[in-house]
């Protein structure tokens, strides 16, 4: 009797995994065509001196990579991205978790509040940048004058030291939306009876949070860290629209440098070399993040 049942079960599992496999094929196909293959072609071009429009080019080996790693401008951009990413990841986790915890407690009009916090995610990044451009130039200085804060009286985007803060504010405004939703879902997966048991045992809310809640949301923390680190290192849209790398070169991120080298300066092969180096950096950080938190999550 049991043998028959498990044989049936195995057949069922085989059939459903076949179907699931078929469902993944279109995505794998698109991914291979538009990502993997283009990346391999890009790596090929990074070993040439192609300028983007000429019909012939020469193979130059690692020359592009050496030029890029020696370039002070690239190191500057890398420094900018490192600082920006650290700030971005820290603030996004902090703010999103805070908002998610608050939304978790809200019972009345919960859908309304959740929608409000999610709306920035549906606007395009360029539109958001343009809106904040005007806000920074016209509205924020008024706020600064009212509060009497000196550095707030002029547009943050025109201040070489504070332009990065301006970009960060815009990124947080839009970037917290999806992590908030993710954390909210994660918080709801924490078993309520565990929390109650902890309460009965005398744990205060902070202890409950760190010992019960956090282990359950570590997979989400992982995902948010990796995606936001990737977002921080590949930041482009906001900078292109709001400051275009300026003032001076104070917001020239690697993404912008890659774009400039390709489109403005016609150095396509060098641009691809920079992209490859960026790819390695983001990949390394992702692996590091996964390794660091893999033994702390629930179920491991």
């Amino acid at each position: 009797m049991q043998k028959g049942k498990s044989a049936k079960k195995q057949k069922k599992i085989k059939k459903s995994s076949k179907v699931m496999f078929l469902f993944t094929l279109p995505t794998v196909f698109l991914y291979t065509m538009f990502f993997s293959i283009t990346m391999i072609i890009g790596v090929y071009y990074s070993f040439t001196n192609w300028n983007g429009i000429s019909k012939d080019y020469k193979m130059v080996g690692f020359k592009n990579y050496i030029t890029v790693l020696k370039d002070g401008r690239f190191r500057n951009a890398l420094g900018f991205n490192v600082v920006y990413t650290i700030l971005l990841v820290a603030f996004i986790i902090f703010l999103s978790l805070l908002i998610a915890l608050a939304l978790n407690k809200v019972t009345r009009f919960s859908t309304f509040f959740r929608s409000i916090f999610f709306i920035p995610a549906v606007i395009s990044m360029v539109t958001v940048g343009l809106i904040w451009n005007e806000l920074f130039y016209r509205a924020v200085p008024l706020l600064g004058q009212f509060l009497g804060i000196e550095w707030l009286k002029t547009s943050l985007l025109g201040n070489p030291k504070l332009a990065i803060v301006g970009i960060l504010i815009v990124n947080l405004w839009q970037g917290c939306a999806i992590p908030t939703v993710l954390f909210l879902a994660g918080l709801q997966s924490v078993p309520k009876d565990l929390l109650e048991a902890a309460k009965i045992d005398g744990a205060n809310s902070w202890k409950r949070f760190t010992n019960v809640t956090i282990p359950y949301i570590i997979p989400i923390l992982n995902m948010v860290i990796i995606t936001q680190a990737k977002a921080g290192f590949t930041i482009f849209d906001y900078i292109k629209v709001m400051t275009n790398g300026g003032p001076g070169q104070s917001t020239e991120a690697i993404g912008l440098l890659i774009y400039r080298h390709a489109i403005n300066e016609g150095k396509f092969s060098r641009s691809v070399a920079e992209s490859m180096i960026l790819f390695v950096i983001v990949g390394a950080i992702s692996i590091l993040a996964l390794k660091l938190t893999s033994n702390k999550q629930v179920g491991e």
């Binding site: 300028n51 002029t154 025109g158 003032p247 070169q249 020239e252 489109i263 300066e265 016609g266």
Partner: protein, 438 residues
Amino acid sequence: MCANKQGGNSMKRNFLSLILVFAMVMGLTACGSANNVENTVDDAQSSDTTDKVVEIEFVQVKREAGDTYTKLIEKFNETHPNIIITQNVVPDAQEVLMTRASADNLPDMFNHWPTDAQYVQFAQEGLLLDQSGESYLSNVEQNYIDVMKDEEGHLYIVPYNMNYMGLYYNVDLFSEAGFEEPKTWDALMTIAQQIKDKGETAFLLPNKDSWTVSQLFLNIEGKDLGSHTDIYAKMSNGETSFAEIPEYKDALEKMIQLFDFTEADSLAYGYDQAINDFANGNGWMFIQGNWALPSIKAANPDVNVAMIPLPNDNGDMIQNTGADSGFCINAKMADEPEKLAAIEEFIGFLLSTEGAQIYTDLDQSPSCVKGVVLDVPELAGMNKYIEENGAVLDTASLPIGFEDTKRGKIQNIFIDKDVDGLLAELSEDFKQAVSEEQ
């Protein structure tokens, strides 16, 4: 009973998933079908041989001349109703052209700046059609054509109009305050200080848009250096550099001086905003080129401005003029004779005395076409200076990519005021750009 329930549910589910797949497939085909619709319309039109409609895409890179070209196209269509010219004006035109060039999808025709490194690159890579045999060239002043030809006599761009840079000032504000036109740099600084003492903005510098900063640099040093052809040639050979030519250092120091007399937030202040403010009297002076005049007058038709050469230390300014824009034809048009014929008709019209006069009246820039009269009262001061002292035609172009590197870095002069540092960087970047060109 259980079996029925399950049967009913799976039927519903199958039906739902079928609908979703159907919707997805329709969505995908809709993306592809848009192109098909256009093609069938084209086929329908071109199959009518008696009234052949030809469509030409004209990418027009000078945003401020958009309205001017619209009027020219309307006039052209009065005599050539079957040639449809679509003017395509985009922001960041050079970036768009570079993207299209790398995708092998350049427009049928476009205009460009003859001294711009991107034009030089396109010409060198064989992307442009040689126009040296075209009949409409007879309408253009010969010396401008000769300057535009390359060493083998090919002409990849037909020059249309000239430009020059100088200093605009608000005539009403000046006469109220009793200021005279400054003829030397010191006189200019004195006036600026007096304006600042009144609590007003002397110079409107849109420093957020780095191309204006780069041109400000060119404007100032051009007054002392004149034509740059020899200078850039010597820099390419390594015989000299930005750091070794004193006029460049002087120009950067003058820019720092100007920074004292401009708006507090100039690094967040853009070109369009500056045009608007100057036209409405919110700034007394505007250092720009003649191309800004139509935009200023469009923002406020009643404003009373005049343009004079930007003064240098001694009052013996060299006034540079440059080729502003010209027309390029996509080299692929050689394989499409109908389109090429239509483009030749259109350019022929633009270069006719009639067409060029319309352009000059609206764009208010000196024309390269014979027989065109430039009568713009605001530019009288410049034209008088040029009549008395002559003008220098500066057609030198920078190595590929250098102008963009310069634009990325030139704003730093307002931030750290490190003149020697910037000159050293620019010299190094120039050398690199030259070596990457080989």
